[in-house]
Symmetry: C2
Subunit: 352 residues, 2 copies
């Protein structure tokens, strides 16, 4: 298969982990006789410095011309604590999502038995948890009308029927492919927008009679993912709730550095780690490249290359079993591996 990949390494540890992600894709290409081409483009703080725009038109075009985007992370401390700065890396992220129409952010929440002890949750609670959170990514308060002066400020949490229908469709279809249990998370006891979500979900339910659909308020969901994470199969929720809930659910795995995600929508699909740009670690060969590598696996699987994706996952499991791990998940007394060493080990495993 020929795939044209837009490569957006971004800021902080981005370039380091991206290097390993691309190396793994290339190892797969060679092994399976695919032809992957990689087109690098700038974004984030990096792009603000170079051209004054965190998601330049040029980068947008590279993404639109590609079959898929492999993204790392953006963000820089120079822009933190300065949320009122005119141009911020996050704006690039939001522009990217909006312009590429990436309305469905899909985060598989997978646990690794050998890392249960790293989770903040008690091991036995988490064991066997395996669900997907689908976050609406281009609507709600992130993009509704905003206003701010010295005495008053507001944001508008707005959703239209087509926006809700298309994300629920993605969610129902994921549930059909998985264990047929969908949980719609909202705040329908308070919010009008949630009531419309719930109304539309109920209208759509008969189209998916095999799916067991339930409804949960976001405050309850934020507890239930802690007390009974195995309850869930597919969760769907709106943008702001999804921002909070996906971080919470990634965190409980105890292995943020291992969690990939995809963002799907109208144009080119995008694949990225759930973690951020970790600026403090940039250039230190410390960051775990596995989330980036598993993002590459998700990318391949998106195009039906399931054998290829599975091989990457096997290689990652093998690296964990062999204790080839970056410091944050290394066992006590275990040898410490850097970003490069973990990446190269996985590449070699795939080659052999």
């Amino acid at each position: 298969m020929k795939l044209n990949i837009a490569v957006l390494a971004g800021d902080g540890i981005g370039p380091e982990i991206m290097k390993q992600g691309v190396a793994v894709m290339q190892a797969i290409a060679e092994k399976f006789n695919h032809e992957f081409t990689y087109n690098e483009a700038i974004c984030g703080a990096h792009a603000i410095d170079e051209v004054g725009d965190p998601f330049p038109e040029e980068t947008f075009k590279t993404c639109m011309d590609a079959d898929a985007v492999l993204f790392a992370a953006v963000g820089d401390p120079r822009f933190d604590n300065n949320p009122t700065a005119k141009v911020r890396p996050e704006q690039g992220l939001l522009a990217m999502r909006k312009k590429l129409g990436l309305f469905a952010n899909v985060r598989p929440v997978a646990t690794f038995d050998c890392l249960l002890h790293k989770s903040p949750l008690k091991d036995e609670l988490l064991k066997g948890a395996d669900f997907v959170v689908i976050r609406e990514l281009t609507g709600g308060m992130y993009f509704g009308e905003k206003y701010q002066d010295n005495d008053k400020a507001y944001d508008t949490d707005i959703y239209t029927r087509p926006e809700i229908e298309r994300i629920l469709k993605v969610a129902f279809e994921f549930a059909m492919k998985r264990n047929k249990h969908l949980t719609v998370v909202d705040k329908a006891n308070v919010l009008a927008s949630s009531r419309l979500w719930r109304q539309i979900a109920k209208e759509m339910e008969p189209q998916y009679p095999e799916v067991n659909t339930d409804y949960m308020f976001i405050d309850n969901a934020s507890m239930r993912v802690l007390t009974e994470p195995t309850f869930f199969d597919v969760i769907v929720t709106e943008n702001t709730f999804g921002d909070i809930l996906t971080d919470e659910t990634s965190c409980i795995t105890g292995s943020m550095g291992l969690q990939p995600s995809s963002s799907l929508g109208e144009h080119t699909p995008l694949f990225e780690p759930v973690h951020g740009s970790w600026p403090q670690a940039a250039g230190k060969n410390l960051a775990n490249p596995v989330a980036q590598i598993l993002s590459a696996a998700m990318l391949l699987e998106h195009f039906g290359l399931n054998e290829e994706g599975a091989l990457i996952r096997k290689a990652v499991d093998a690296s964990l079993d062999a204790n080839v791990r970056t410091p944050e998940i290394q066992v006590e007394g275990g040898a410490q591996y850097g970003t490069t060493e973990v990446g190269e080990w996985i590449v070699n495993w795939i080659k052999n």
Copy 2:
């Protein structure tokens, strides 16, 4: 001291736990020669049935005439999954908050060493965690302009300067009385309303030079309370984020049935358990009365009756140590005590 208490038992397990809460207050009144009077008033599903209004004018007057409100919980399954019902118990809750001007919801997050094993978090993470979450309770999306038709819906997350200043003042003052560490939780990288919060907090910082103030995005906070709950001293946040975060932080204690809260503001202060009305357990003598009893302790402490509050807390600790516990926190093989038995044990301990 003379105190006129409005007693709102509400729905579900409310009346059962309230009975114990009032009995404990009365035991304190007798021991310390105070004169507490109790005026019962209806609210919630209960009040909808009786007078068609979940927070009737009569109840409002009882609250306004009182020195404090002791509240239990509202909510009934007949109104669940029917968020579009014209009159719902939650509306009574929101009306109560708004009409009493209860803009500051204060939730101490305290752990009990003997209950660490009940927490979803690993014991060692939670040990020593002791912080307070202050949630703005009468603004934001809960009360901003709403609209809903068949094709579109929106809610408005709106805050004015005076609303933000008064809640931040409460938060800074709590921090001064505690360990002088305030964390302002927002989403200032996306929301205009959050940017105004952050701007005002920064303006107020110099008035509290001893307070170490930091800022955290809500998505980070939802993780940090899991990975490092001991980091926090006082957290302050807006209504919707507070709804999610306070439930998450109560849940990690592993003892929701033991967590009290207060809501302070313009008029009569209100004290209530953080848990809900648990309709399934109503009338079964199963519910833990301790959160209600500790809410009474918070009430007394609010009026400077610190010795009285401390005695209640000691009695509760003694009941836990003596394994006089309701089923959800009882140790394996321990005798099972009901709502009444736990309440009576605590009353007797106070008397003796």
